[in-house]
Subunit: 200 residues, 2 copies
C-alpha cells in the first residue's frame, strides 16, 4: 500500500505484479497469492489499476474510514507523534491526549487538549478504540490495563518493555532501539565473514 501510494503520487496508473519483485523484493507469485486470499484483483497480462488496488487494500485493512485514535503520554515522543504528518496517509486522526503530569493537563498539543489520565475511562463512550502509548516503561503495564478497561482494542506501544494484554486485544510494540541495532552489522570492515552480504 505504501509503495502504491508513492506510485500514485508520481502519476502512475497501473502496475504489473512482476514489478513488485523489483521494488519490494516480494515474488510476484506471492503477491498474487496474497491478494487472491481476499478476492479477485487485477487482470492477467495487464496488471493492477493502482487507484483501484489502493481502494481495495484500504477496504481490506479497514482504513476506509477515519480511525479516531487516543494517545497516552505527551512528553517529547507523544508530542512528536501528535504532530507527526504521516498518520493521515493511512486515515488516522489523533483526537484525544492524556497525561498524568498536572502541569501538562489542560495544555494543548496541535489543538488537542491534554486530559488527565483518570479520564481514560471516557474513551468507551467517545467511541475511541485505538490508542498509542508513549509513556515510560515503568508506567506502561498500568496504562495498558487502563486502556483495555476503557474498551480500547488496538494498542501501539512505544515504551521499551514487554506488556501483557488479553488475547482479544491487538498490541503492537515498536522497539525503536532495535532498528538502530540492525545497522552495525552492515558497517564495512571489522567482520570479514563470507556470509556478510548474503543475510537479509
Amino acid at each position: 500500500m505504501r509503495h502504491l501510494q508513492v506510485l500514485a503520487k508520481d502519476g502512475r496508473a497501473s502496475i504489473r505484479s512482476a514489478e513488485f519483485t523489483e521494488s519490494l523484493g516480494v515474488r510476484s507469485a506471492q503477491v498474487r497469492k496474497d491478494l487472491a486470499y481476499f478476492g479477485s484483483f487485477g487482470k492477467p497480462g495487464v496488471g493492477y489499476d493502482i487507484r483501484k488496488l489502493l481502494e481495495q487494500l484500504r477496504q481490506i485493512l479497514k482504513l476506509k474510514h477515519v480511525n479516531r485514535t487516543a494517545i497516552v503520554g505527551v512528553g517529547d515522543l507523544g508530542s512528536a507523534l501528535i504532530r507527526y504528518p504521516g498518520f493521515s496517509r493511512f486515515s488516522f486522526e489523533i483526537v484525544a491526549a492524556f497525561d498524568n503530569d498536572h502541569e501538562k493537563v489542560g495544555q494543548t498539543r496541535d489543538n488537542i487538549l491534554v486530559e488527565d489520565i483518570s479520564e481514560l475511562k471516557t474513551l468507551k463512550k467517545r467511541g475511541i478504540k485505538l490508542a498509542i502509548m508513549a509513556v515510560p516503561a515503568r508506567a506502561a503495564q498500568r496504562v495498558a490495563d487502563d486502556l483495555v478497561k476503557a474498551g480500547v482494542v488496538g494498542i501501539l506501544n512505544f515504551a521499551p518493555c514487554y506488556l501483557t494484554v488479553p488475547k482479544k486485544i491487538k498490541l503492537i510494540s515498536v522497539d525503536i532501539a532495535m532498528y538502530l541495532a540492525y545497522l552495525p552489522y552492515y558497517l564495512p570492515g571489522s567482520m570479514k565473514s563470507k556470509n556478510r552480504n548474503e543475510v537479509l
Copy 2:
C-alpha cells in the same frame, strides 16, 4: 536477542531451542539453522546458555562495543530519541546532535550540544559512522546526501518519505504510521471475513 535480554533479567540461565517456538513463533529448527550459519552454539539436548548466547549474538551483530551515533533534527522526535532509554540496551550512545534552526543550535539536549547542520562534515574525523534522521520529509534527501558525504554508512530514518542512497550505505526507514495502520484490521466487528483470524 531482545527475548534473551528479558530472560536474563528475570534470572533465567538457559533456554532450549523448542522454547523459541512458543515465545517468538519461530520454529526451533529455524533457530538452529540460523545460528549454525554463524558457527556452533548450544548443546544438543541441553540448549543454550543464555549469557553466552547473548555475548555471541552481540559479537555477530557487532554490538560488542559502544556504537557512537549522531542525530540530525532535534525537534520533538529528535529530542525524544536523544532521551530514549532503550538505545543503551544495544550499546548505542548518541554523541552528537545537529539542527538547522539557529535558535536550537548551541542549546543542549540531555547534555548533548546541538551543532549547526553545516558541521555534519566533521563526522568523518570524529569517527561517527551511524546517524539517526528526525527531520521533516522535505529536508530528508538533502540531509541523507550530506550524511553520506560525511562518511556515514548506516542511517536510521524517521522522515515519512523514500530516500535514495548509494548501495554501500545501509538505510533503514521506520514508518511509524504504518505500524498504526496494522491495528484496524484486527478491530472486532465491521468485517466478517472467514479469513479474519488466519492472517498474521
